[in-house]
Amino acid sequence: MPKSTANITEMMKKLRAITEWFESQEEIDVEKGIEKVKEGAELIKASKERLKELENEFEDVKKKLGDND
């Protein structure tokens, strides 16, 4: 599970970078823009799917006062 979340956090980072790229462009490079939009769309799709899959897990850990945990 931690791996997949790292993915969400990573994906969000990438998406934000793309948004920033668009904001920073004075004169837009269409070819690059198309690429970025494509990448962004894929990231959005993947993130949404990832979020749908997430299920909680519950682990009941017993502490033993006498064990060397």
Binding site: Q25, G33, S47, N56, E59, K63, G66, N68
Partner: protein
């Protein structure tokens, strides 16, 4: 076997306390379980158990074997007391553990030590909570000693407490202070002295708690433990949550029910959260979670008075939370005084539900952000493209205008050329009409001329017909010829000569007999 296990646990606890070490250092739980199961009778059998090596055997072997022998003795009463138990007694051994079988025939003789062991085991089963006033308090080495006096009739109970347990309570004792102790009694074998071995101690009364709370708060504040710059930021998308609270109670349900479904991994450690006993539990839970890979520690419990929340104002608990490796969230319901753990925690929301809101926040923000992004990203790009299209249109418009200027003369030429061609076509067309017209006239004239000619010819024919000599011949005239020549005068022929007379139906050959000239002039 419950009794042997209890005996071993009690023995281990006192050994650990005597040596000032942790319980597992004396004997791990697994070894105790194994001893109860295997019931070792010899050194070989005992050292075969995992966790008990030569050194441990030398230290505790005799004591353990002795306990097993006695504990096991209860299981086989025939060997120990020379008496065959009926089934009911056998069950009562198992249920009650250390019920002393009553010897019927023989008088049982115990050594002092064995007897005290048996009494102590009985006492060990009687865990109790006792309230009284503190008197003659003294610290000595690893332990504290004092007496507990009954406020009503002055009865006295001597109390022994390990320094480590006492320190955990984080209180200062003074003569006459009312306290509540929890623990078991024991007879100390070397002196035969009876004492209550207190495991926890707590102050009684709001006033005492308030005083302790204020003092500790001031102390920790001076140390800077509450400083805002100490607060750590919860990471984005937390996953692994270390949860410490009581398994029973509404709080854990509130928390779990409101925790969004974002793939959390909740590592839950059940812990008492009420009263002085909660301190040990919480500390053990925190120690356990310190070694786990968690993103955030959540310590929650419902509201209560300063007294019932004392564990959350305990110096050890507070310090443990303050130095906890992961980000901490403490939500402890309270009235007036904020529990000190809340003050040192990185986050201190008011309720378990507020805690879940805090944990869910970055997830929910991400979901919202994704929605915005999935619309915004395309729109933004579209706008850029539209802007470019606009620019293109402007440029191409300008180019067209310029090109127009260049093309204009040609366009004029083409127009005039077209005009000329049109004119020519019109002229040709009129010529054609003219030709058509004149050819018609010509034909007419020709026809007229032809008619005239034909008419002339017809009249000529008529006149020829009228003047035809043959017609004259029919009328009675004749043509006279002589020697191929027409005879026009009587002079042309001599008398006696012959000539031809041509009539309409033949020729007569005639001979001239006489001549008669005509004189009519």
């Amino acid at each position: 076997m419950a009794n042997l296990r209890s005996v071993l646990h009690a023995w281990r606890e006192s050994e650990a306390a005597k040596k000032g070490v942790e319980l597992f250092r004396v004997l791990p739980n697994s070894a105790i379980d194994e001893i109860v199961r295997a019931m070792p009778k010899t050194k070989e059998e005992l050292t075969a158990i995992k966790g008990i090596k030569e050194a441990k055997y030398n230290q505790y072997g005799a004591a353990i074997l002795n306990m097993v022998k006695e504990g096991g003795g209860a299981e086989t009463p025939k060997a120990a007391f020379g008496q065959k138990p009926d089934e009911i007694t056998a069950i009562s051994y198992i249920v009650d553990g250390m019920v002393l079988p009553k010897p019927k025939e023989e008088r049982m003789l115990y050594s002092v030590s064995t007897y005290l062991d048996i009494v102590n085991r009985e006492l060990w089963r009687m865990r109790a909570t006792v309230k009284g006033e503190v008197t003659s308090f003294k610290e000595q080495g690893k332990a504290v000693y004092f007496s507990l006096r009954d406020a009503e009739d002055g009865s006295m109970l001597s109390v022994f407490m390990w320094m480590s347990d006492f320190a955990l309570a984080g209180i200062t004792l003074a003569e006459g202070l009312e306290v509540i102790l929890e623990g078991r009694s024991e007879i100390y074998k070397p002196s035969g002295r009876f004492s209550f071995r207190a495991e926890t101690i707590e102050l009684v009364g709001e006033g005492a708690f308030q005083k302790a709370y204020n003092e500790l708060k001031k102390k920790l504040e001076l140390e800077g433990l509450f400083a805002p710059e100490r607060k750590r930021q919860l990471k984005e998308h937390p996953i692994r949550i270390g949860l410490v609270t009581s398994r029973s109670g509404a709080v854990i349900h509130d928390f779990l029910n409101n925790l969004g479904r974002f793939g959390y991994h909740v590592v839950f450690v059940d812990s008492r959260v009420e009263g002085a006993g909660a301190v040990k539990d919480i500390l053990a839970a925190l120690t356990l979670l310190e070694s786990k890979d968690i993103d955030v520690l959540v310590l929650v419990r419902g509201g209560g008075s300063l007294e019932s929340l004392q564990a959350f104002n305990n110096e050890h608990v507070v310090r443990k939370v303050a130095t906890f490796p992961a980000v901490t969230i403490c939500a402890i319901g309270h009235d007036k005084d904020v529990p000190l753990v809340q003050l040192v925690a990185d986050y201190a929301p008011s309720t378990p539900t507020a805690t879940t809101i805090l944990l869910n926040a970055s997830w929910e923000h991400t979901i919202h952000e994704l929605q915005t992004l999935s619309r915004g990203l395309i729109v933004r790009f579209e706008q850029d493209v539209w802007r470019m299209q606009d620019a293109l249109r402007t440029v191409s418009g300008e180019l067209e205008t310029r090109l127009d200027v260049l093309i204009q003369p040609f366009r004029l030429l083409i127009t005039s050329f077209n005009d000329s061609v049109l004119l020519l076509a019109r002229q040709l067309s009129s010529k054609k009409d003219e030709l058509h017209y004149s050819s018609k006239t010509l034909l007419e004239q020709y026809r007229q001329q032809r008619r005239f000619v034909l008419e002339a010819l017809a009249s000529a024919a008529r006149s020829v017909q009228q003047n035809d000599p043959l017609r004259q011949l029919k009328l009675g005239y004749s043509i006279l010829t002589h020697g191929g020549k027409v005879v026009r005068s009587i002079a042309d022929i001599a008398v006696g000569q012959s000539f031809d007379a041509r009539l309409s139906d033949g020729t007569l050959v005639v001979e001239t007999k006489e001549k008669h000239p005509i004189n009519d002039k």
